[in-house]
Amino acid sequence: MGQKPFKWKILPFAGTVMKNLFSDPATTKYPFEPAKFPERMRGHIVIRIDECISCGLCERNCPPRAIKVDRAAGTWAINRFDCIQCGNCTNVCPKKCLEIVPGYTEPGTEKITETFTKSMTERTS
């Protein structure tokens, strides 16, 4: 293999290493300092259930099928462990009662479905 001569430097990275040694860490001091989430972060889905018209568009447009809408019972349920936080449901919702907000959902040992039920006044109207 033909070795091409090139300008070698000894310890070119030493300056950066010394700088890092005497500067603050690049990472956040979690959990003493809370994690910062940007405004647009796709963390988890929230629903304003009383505005929901149970049209079922979110259910049909959910890629992993994590949402279940029951029009008769007036419920909207989401399996947060299946949800991939793509935000497709918020884009198709005609009433814009679904929203994707910052903040991760908590870890768990089993897949739990979270169910929201409409209040009785909403269901009868």
């Binding site: 293999m1 430097k9 940007p38 647009r40 991939i84 793509c86």
Partner: protein, 360 residues
């Protein structure tokens, strides 16, 4: 006398490999005389899913093919459908796609530089590369809402706009990064230890690269001036862009090409932010696609090919994705032949393998 060779299995779990690939290395003492690659450990059948998902929904699946090239995969799929359905994406949408695509390239190349430093045992350089990469990931988080999976592409444009303050923020980050990145790139290019490991290792000539179908930085490091961005998809047709090439064809040249591409990406981001027009970011899509389309996209790792065949319903017949690593595996196997066992890990890394993409 009959020579006896020994076979050593390499991978799928190996400290230097970010993803599982298996190689049977045939050794004559410490010299590798042959290598038999074996992939298929993480096949997920994502191409097949296109038959059961609505074509608009599949964008979210397409971008999950790979964590690093996720934006490009989503964009490639959308561009195919837009061509089939004769949809003209608004110019602002195209510029936003270009900015995000170049940010992807920066974060992919910084990831690769970090992995290379790690393979060389240069831990502080590895950490410094990934520290810089965090700034780009933070910009992705602020503009798209995701660090790895962005979910901003849709058929007909993009889903999220960037206001002027976000664009200025990107511009400032890019300008700062360009200064901060210098000590890192200088170390890769001039350090004695890095140089002795990379110089003259795994030379691929231009003819070999062409014959064996190398793509991306691997091809350009061998002196072939080819870059799929020159085909002018998204807003690349309106930006000044010359493929970064190198003539040595060795591992050092591949490193140098990727470093120069980092600076090229910074320049392209600046150009795109300077030229971005006002207006809509997407157009509504009506009806179902019918027809087929084939296109190339320059992913950070090389040229990826997308093919979509639609049948007039909301389900697509076929989506085919040829990823850069698929093309780079044959030249990689050739490079390994003749090298020392200790260099195998480094040579595998210089093609920037993405096995998750390859197996889909």
């Amino acid at each position: 006398m009959v020579k006896e060779f020994s076979t050593i299995p390499f991978g799928p779990q190996h400290p230097v490999l970010p993803e599982p690939v298996h190689l049977d290395l045939i050794l004559d003492d410490e010299t590798v005389v042959g290598a038999v690659p074996n992939i298929g450990f993480i096949h997920r059948g994502l191409e097949k899913l296109v038959e059961t998902k609505d074509f608009k929904e599949y964008v979210y699946v397409a971008e999950r093919v790979c964590g690093i090239c996720s934006f490009g995969h989503g964009m490639g799929y959308c561009e195919c459908l837009e061509n089939i359905m004769n949809i003209e994406v608004p110019r602002r949408g195209n510029y936003l796609r270009t900015i995000w695509m170049e940010m992807s390239r920066v974060h992919s190349h910084l990831l690769w530089l970090g992995l290379l430093a790690d393979a060389l045992g240069f831990e502080s350089l590895f950490m410094e590369s990934w520290k810089l990469r965090e700034q780009i990931l933070d910009m992705f988080d602020a503009t798209t809402g995701g660090r790895v999976i962005f979910s901003v592409n849709c058929v007909g444009g993009v889903l999220k706009d960037m206001d002027q303050s976000m664009l200025n923020n990107i511009l400032n980050t890019v300008n700062d990064m360009e200064k901060e990145i210098r000590p890192v790139t200088e170390t890769f290019l001039n350090d004695y230890t890095v140089g002795t490991r990379l110089h003259g290792l795994g030379v691929l000539t231009a003819d070999e690269a062409k014959v064996m179908g190398a793509v991306g930085p691997m091809l350009r490091a061998s002196g072939v001036s080819y870059d799929a961005r020159k085909t002018g998809y998204a807003a690349y047709g309106e930006l000044d862009l010359e493929p970064v090439i190198d003539t040595d064809g060795d591992s050092f040249a591949r490193c140098r090409v990727r470093i120069n591409e980092l600076f090229q990406s910074f320049d392209l981001i600046r150009q795109a932010i300077g030229k971005i027009p006002e207006g809509d970011i997407s157009v509504p899509v009506k009806g179902n696609p019918e027809g087929e389309h084939f296109m190339r996209i320059e992913q950070p790792r090389g040229e990826a090919i997308y093919y979509v065949k639609a049948n007039g319903t909301k389900y697509i017949d076929r989506f085919r994705l040829r990823t850069p690593t698929t093309s780079n595996i044959p030249p990689m196997v050739e490079l390994i032949k003749g090298c020392q066992l200790a260099d195998v890990a480094l040579l595998i890394l210089t093609i920037d393998p993405c096995i998750s993409c390859t197996e889909r």
